[in-house]
Amino acid sequence: MIVCVRLFARAKDLAGVDSAVLQLPQNATVADVRQVLAADFPGVSGLLARCAVAVDGEFANDAFPISANAEVALLPPVSGGQC
């Protein structure tokens, strides 16, 4: 299954791309997205654990299933509390 993941902020800078096409297993979950992202983009792996993942515009935990046409996004921590 092929899924497109959008990257933002430092994750985008570290990966060098603002979107990535991932090859995922059938019945993939968010956990698989994280694993494949870390493998494909080693530079992002340090930040990955602190990032949230959104599926179709909603925060999704590691068990959340990914469908083939899902919009997936990797969201680094937002800047909360700084002003």
């Binding site: 959008r6 933002f8 902020a9 430092r10 800078d13 930040l47 602190r50 959104a54 515009g57 909603e58 996004a73 969201l75 680094p76 921590p77 937002v78 800047s79 909360g80 509390g81 700084q82 002003c83």
Partner: protein, 137 residues
């Protein structure tokens, strides 16, 4: 009402938009590009959003806020792109019958916005470096 824009925020219009005769209190919060952070000097910020999700989360925060306080009206505007020192990146205005409600609701809305809405900022420091702000690093 929620809005994401790349234009300068007209916070007077944001506040006017929430004034109502049944609301004796209006609280407006403005977030601006601050010069000093932990002893380092900022010259500008760049804000980036995940479009679509950012608006959706802001709309949810408005609903949450309205469910908790007797909000007459509220408006949240976030600006994206490049902002110089002192420019306003975010404005939240809330009207309620009484001031206690308006302060609490406005505070809640901006706290949730900063916690949940996928918008990131990059600091452009005076030493020429720049970096994304990702708390917890």
């Amino acid at each position: 009402m929620i809005r994401i824009t790349t234009e300068p925020i007209d916070y007077h219009a944001v506040t006017e938009a929430v004034r109502r005769n049944d609301c004796g209190a209006v609280v407006t919060f403005l977030g601006a590009v601050r010069e000093m952070t932990d002893g380092r000097q900022t010259i500008a910020l760049d804000y980036e959003a995940y479009p679509g999700m950012a608006e959706k989360k802001m709309a949810e925060i408005e609903e949450e806020t309205r469910s908790r306080w007797p909000v007459g009206d509220m408006m949240m505007v976030h600006r994206l792109g490049h902002m110089d020192l002192g420019e306003i990146s975010v404005a939240v205005a809330v009207s309620c019958p009484h001031r206690d409600q308006a302060f609490q609701a406005c505070r809640y809305a901006i706290d949730r916005l900063k916690e949940l809405v996928p918008i990131w900022k990059k600091e452009n420091w005076s030493d020429g470096n720049s970096e994304w702000v990702h708390p917890g690093s």
